[in-house]
């Protein structure tokens, strides 16, 4: 996952993150579960890191999650910002 733009899927709980991981792996997405960056959230849990090129697949795969989903991107200055998917 080098030389790519990364996005980060934030969910309310670790349970939701694990469910999302299962769904995304089933759909063939290359993902990584990582500790939540402090700039995104102060929770002690995890987020799902993925290539921004796969955002549509991620959104589609996570449609069945009945949990609030937020997607963040990191700019060239290493600042995280929330993106609103089209």
């Amino acid at each position: 996952m080098k030389n790519m733009d990364y996005c980060y899927l934030l969910l309310p709980s670790v349970h939701d993150a694990m469910k999302a991981e299962k769904l995304l792996l089933q759909s063939g997405c290359a993902i990584q579960v990582i500790a939540t960056p402090r700039e995104i959230s102060h929770n002690c849990g995890v987020v799902i890191k993925f290539s921004c090129a796969e955002i549509n697949t991620v959104l589609l795969s996570c449609k069945e999650l009945s949990a609030e989903q937020k997607i963040f991107k990191k700019n060239s200055n290493n600042v995280y910002y929330e993106i609103i998917p089209e």
């Binding site: 993150a17 469910k19 990582i34 002690c44």
Partner: protein, 381 residues
């Protein structure tokens, strides 16, 4: 002398090798804190919790795995429901076959003037009929039904009872205490129209002790019970309101959860076979003991409404003495007394002396039951 373990209703023993290996593997290889850190071991631990939650959800046909709450045992799951649901002025209906896991918290709250309580009496064999609905009042908030008795093994028709309650008032919540039946009798929480099922992992699911849970069907207007750290919303001093975190504070019992999953995986495809074998053992016990003078048997009187639990009492020999002789002279391990269910014993007419309870399990074989029957025959002479 080979040990004969007939106390599976207290806790199943031995456990399947797969359960022992799952617990050992967890403790050896990935027993980090699930959901509290972002390192690989913690994530692996969280994955095991998630997989087990999905397995439990599938077992009970829960709407979603987030509706599965892990607790230490069924008692804690039952207490969780009471704390989550009941408020001052509420009325609760219970069957007269309930365990003290239900009765003690309810009696406490009744004595404090917080709730009122009605007992729906079962018949002499322990059957609760649909007339439990007659006890419902405008203030009734909850009905509690024991699925399978830990005293005499009688199985209630929970679908019929819950259906009747919901027919009278759909807002009355129904809690099924499935401590003894989970792993033997399929339970579909949505089909039977109940709101909560409390279960334990260490009996007929063959997991380790210290793990159980609550399956929720209706999660509206529930207050949290144990509050604290969840790994989520760490910036807030208030309890998260989403499931399962709302009801799961503090570090989970990960080795227990790993063992629970292995136990469910072991039994889920063979529940009918396990139940059938248990009933064959009960039949052998009934046939072997029925002709012994002064000995009474307490069971459902029908193999259609029974699990592998049966009680016996002798007219002249205290059950404790029989139990001690079984232990000392025959290496047969059973449980004697009131089995933490004095109300059920009152219903069956065995209070306060209690009974000698025999409970078979997955690893009980015909020779175990024959040894027990022969020993009772000798002791009764």
């Amino acid at each position: 002398m080979a040990m004969v373990y007939l106390d599976n209703a207290a806790t199943s023993f031995p456990k399947p090798d797969t359960v022992i290996k799952a617990v050992t593997n967890c403790l050896t290889n990935y027993c980090a804190n699930p959901g509290r850190s972002g390192h690989s071991l913690s994530i692996e631990a969280a994955r095991k919790v998630f997989e087990t939650r999905e397995t439990v959800a599938e077992l009970f046909h829960a709407k979603d795995s987030r509706y599965v709450i892990f607790t230490a045992n069924a008692t804690m799951a039952i207490n969780l429901v009471f704390h989550a649901l009941l408020q001052k002025g509420d009325h609760v209906v219970v069957s007269s076959m309930e365990h003290n896991a239900v009765m003690r918290p309810l009696r406490h709250w009744e004595s404090q003037g917080i709730i009122t309580l009605s007992l729906a009496n079962a018949d002499g064999n322990g059957f609760v009929d649909d007339d439990i609905g007659a006890f419902i009042q405008p203030a009734t908030r909850l009905c509690v039904i024991n699925h399978a008795s830990n005293v005499n093994g009688v199985v209630q028709d929970i679908a019929s009872i819950a259906g009747r309650i919901k027919e009278i008032n759909p807002d009355v919540a129904v809690l099924i205490d499935a401590s003894q039946s989970t792993g033997l009798i399929p339970i579909d929480i949505q089909a039977i129209k109940c709101d909560f099922v409390a279960f334990t992992g260490h009996k007929a699911l063959y997991g380790p002790q210290g793990i159980g849970g609550l399956v929720i069907n209706t999660a509206k207007h529930l207050q949290p019970f144990i509050m604290g750290g969840t790994g989520s919303k760490s910036e807030s001093q208030f309890q998260p309101q989403f499931l399962p975190d709302k009801f799961e504070s503090g570090t989970l019992n990960l080795p227990g959860i790993a063992g629970l999953k292995a136990g469910i995986d072991y039994v889920k495809s063979r529940m009918d076979e396990i139940h059938h074998n248990e009933l064959l053992h009960i039949k052998t016990i009934v046939e072997g003991l029925s002709s012994i003078k002064d000995l009474k048997l307490f069971w459902s009187r029908s193999l259609h409404n029974q699990i592998g639990v049966i009680s016996v009492a002798h007219n002249h020999i205290p059950c404790s003495e029989i139990g001690q002789r079984l232990n000392d002279e025959f290496s047969v391990f059973v449980r004697t007394g009131l089995h933490c269910a004095p109300l059920a014993h009152e219903t069956l007419g065995t209070y306060p002396n209690g009974t000698l309870r025999v409970s078979v399990g997955l690893f009980t074989n015909k020779s175990d039951v024959d040894v027990f029957c022969k020993a009772i025959e000798i002791i009764s002479k």
